[in-house]
């Protein structure tokens, strides 16, 4: 059993005492080896396998690169939209003060169009050359330049300048503001 003698130093943990069957099995496995040379056909087949494996690896690498670029592009495409739309908007401007306190506070001009009587004054004092396209001008009787912008009823009553039925826009806003102030006051007639 020369064959078993060279086994024992390394395989002492399992081959220290092989029985007869194990020794015969070892000999049988070694003795039945068939000589099969590495011929040209096998060599060519092995090289073809290497080439195929190399192509598969290159294809996998290319596919991985394409996927990475596509993912990066998709991320960059989605990133700015999400950033701008998710940003919270600034709070709406609020009136500097309540409408009833505006006359007492001349230093703070109102910002909201629903305020205060100083807004019509501004629009009334606007220069005439701004024209009716930008703001509704005050109605002046006898002015032919503004008759085209008036409603037909205003034209019919244009002959009486003192009893004009169409007040200026600023005046209407001012009256509305005052009326709303009167309605909102708790000391109203109804209430």
């Amino acid at each position: 059993m020369d064959h078993m003698e060279h086994l024992t130093p390394d395989g002492a943990d399992h081959l220290d005492r092989p029985d007869h069957f194990e020794r015969q099995l070892t000999l049988l496995m070694h003795g039945t080896r068939e000589q099969s040379p590495f011929d040209a056909r096998r060599r060519e087949r092995l090289r073809a396998g290497v080439r195929t494996h190399r192509r598969v690896r290159a294809a996998r690498r290319a596919a991985g690169s394409v996927l990475a670029v596509a993912g990066l592009g998709l991320g960059l495409f989605l990133w700015p939209h999400g950033h701008t739309e998710d940003r919270p908007s600034a709070p709406r401007p609020r009136p500097a003060s309540s409408p009833t306190s505006v006359p007492d506070a001349p230093s703070s001009p109102p910002v909201s169009p629903s305020a205060p009587p100083t807004v019509p004054a501004t629009s009334l004092s606007a220069p005439p050359d701004e024209g009716p396209a930008t703001s509704e001008p005050p109605i002046t009787s006898g002015s032919s330049a503004t008759t085209g912008y008036r409603p037909p009823t205003a034209t019919a009553t244009a002959g009486s300048p003192d009893t004009g039925t169409t007040p200026p826009a600023g005046a209407r806003v001012s009256e509305t503001a005052v009326a709303s102030d009167d309605r909102s006051s708790p000391a109203g007639p109804n209430g």
């Binding site: 069957f21 049988l28 496995m29 396998g49």
Partner: protein
């Protein structure tokens, strides 16, 4: 550089082909075509790691790849191993030499083992590896490898009782 690598690789394969092919045949239970496919896959993998393992242990690398691939591929359905109660073929006297008859009987008996048992038995009794290296090659604990080998040998005792006669 590439030529040198290819030359060393070809020399290794040419020198060890016969041993590795016999190992593959034992690991597959005598299936010649499957053994050739397994050895081809293992040698292709060896080509891509050749610069790393050429100076160390290329045969150990091939052995590990072969054993693990045999155990893994044997679980695939299309290999279709079905254990039977009796050996499907017996050596007919006169039409084959004694060596071929013994090899056929051995391979038929190995085919009756589970893939893990077969791999453990082959690595232990053909490759002469200790239990620790068998476990390392198969990627399992030492106790598991020892158990696989012991059960495989116990089954081979029954299957090869008429080939390996007990000592009287």
């Amino acid at each position: 550089m590439e030529q040198t690598r290819a030359g060393e690789y070809d020399a290794f394969v040419a020198a060890r082909w016969s041993v590795l092919f016999h190992l593959a045949r034992l690991l597959t239970g005598g299936d010649r075509h499957r053994a050739e496919d397994l050895l081809q896959e293992s040698l292709v993998k060896l080509w891509f790691v050749w610069p790393k393992v050429a100076d160390e242990a290329p045969e150990a690398y091939v052995r590990k790849v072969l054993a693990r691939a045999a155990a893994r591929s044997a679980r695939r359905r299309w290999w279709g191993e079905r254990p039977v109660a009796e050996l499907p073929e017996t050596a007919a006297a006169g039409d084959m030499s004694a060596t071929v008859a013994e090899r056929s009987r051995l391979e038929a008996a190995l085919a009756q083992l589970t893939p893990r048992q077969r791999a453990a038995v082959v690595l232990r009794y053909y490759q002469d590896l200790p239990d620790r290296q068998v476990a390392q090659t198969l990627g399992c604990p030492v106790g598991t490898a020892r158990s696989h080998a012991a059960r495989g040998v116990a089954r081979l005792r029954r299957l090869l009782a008429d080939v390996i006669e007990p000592v009287g």
